[in-house]
């Protein structure tokens, strides 16, 4: 398995070692001699000093045989050119690229040869949004590639479902309560289980149903 990484900064160096430990043969290209020298010490052999956007260099390092190309430079135009060459010219099966400026994310598409775009800013803001977005509802675990999640909520004193049996809640069909923790003890929920303030409720829910869960447990915000 051969992986080609264009851009040998901190991200590239870390990824190179990670892929090496997974059994990949890794080649890294960077045009900065000082970065190349440092990288050679860190990961050993296959570090090439040159322009990773040049078809000639990509050909020399055997990109046509690569299973994976990752474009990690700090310029979006460079990453896009690498991806397009990798996919359309060298027919690399898997091409991944870093989005530097979120404004340029719209260009990172299959047309440009990008299978997976990674946007640091986008990821960060998404995580923050998930953490703070829905008040008391906290995501514990993503399921099915993020389409659903295991979520947790602690019933507030003001919860509209205090004293109600689970079977009487207008629960959405694409969510289910999987456990209730009351006073440190696990209660397996049944239809006749009555909810109390302070209950920690675990539920599996699709992303679409999270909003109605929030309303049922904590009231509309």
């Amino acid at each position: 398995m051969l992986a080609v990484i264009i851009g040998g900064g901190r991200g590239g160096s870390y990824l190179a070692r990670d892929l090496q430990s997974q059994g990949y043969q890794v080649k890294v290209v960077d045009r900065r001699p000082e970065v190349v020298a440092k990288l050679r010490q860190e990961i050993g052999g296959d570090v090439v000093c040159g322009d990773g956007c040049s078809p000639e260099i990509l050909e020399q390092i055997g990109t046509a045989k690569a299973d994976l190309v990752v474009a990690l430079t700090h310029n979006d135009e460079d990453n896009l050119v690498v991806c397009r060459l990798a996919k359309h010219h060298f027919r690399v099966p898997r091409v991944i690229a870093r989005v530097n400026n979120p404004l340029n994310e719209w260009l990172y598409t299959k047309d440009w040869g990008v299978d997976v775009p990674i946007s640091q800013v986008h990821l960060t803001s998404k995580v923050i949004e998930e953490e703070i977005g829905l008040g008391e509802l906290v995501t514990l675990l993503k399921l099915n590639r993020g389409a659903a999640a295991l979520v947790e909520v602690r019933l507030p004193e003001t919860s509209p479902c205090r004293g109600k049996a689970i079977r009487d809640l207008a629960f959405p069909s694409d969510a289910v309560i999987v456990s209730v923790i009351r006073g440190g003890k696990l209660v397996i929920p049944r239809g006749d289980t009555t909810l109390e303030a302070g209950d920690e409720i675990l539920a599996v829910s699709t992303v679409a149903a999270e909003k109605s869960l929030q309303e049922i447990f904590a009231g509309s915000s």
Partner: protein
Amino acid sequence: MRVIIVGCGRVGSGLANALSAERHEVVIIDRSPLSFGRLSRDFSGRMLMGVGFDREILQKADIEGADALAATTDSDNVNIVVAVTAKETFKVPHVVARIYDPQAAEIYRREGIPTVTPTLMAANTMKMMISHPRLAKLATCGSGEVEFITIQVPKGLAGRTVQDLIIPGESLVSALVRRGQASIPSADTRLEAEDELHVAVAAKALPKFDKLLAY
């Protein structure tokens, strides 16, 4: 024509001035506002500061209604991204990009993006001027496999026919200019001294063609 030019360097500003002088509607985009100082006083187009592949900037430049786009920044990669985006995303009918790297230029040419490769053009022209001073180049075709040249018929060839300058598969005489009048010659057209001929010649056959003129 409505033309968008990305990059206001020497080439971009020159192109913008020339098109504007011919009353085309020009929008020129550059990262640096200082570069607009290269535009002539008579430039009547619009100037936009920003990155040439920024969607907002391209929309401000009315790319959807543009007839043509030229990518002339000093970065091959910026020019590639701009040109491909204009052609594929916004369906601009005529797109051209300046690409310094001859190998990359060939790849994009095959993908349908016309490219201008100044490095290759300069090298080919200089090579022609040095090794075949009698042959004046009009144009380079493809990646330099065929040169389109013009020659003055030397006295030694007067009275001979166009046939004598045709090498099958390697050279073809396409136009003859005699006393200011151009025509398409046939193989048996007789040459006169001072005739001007326009000839397509395979680059590898240039030395052979040059020898034909030495009579």
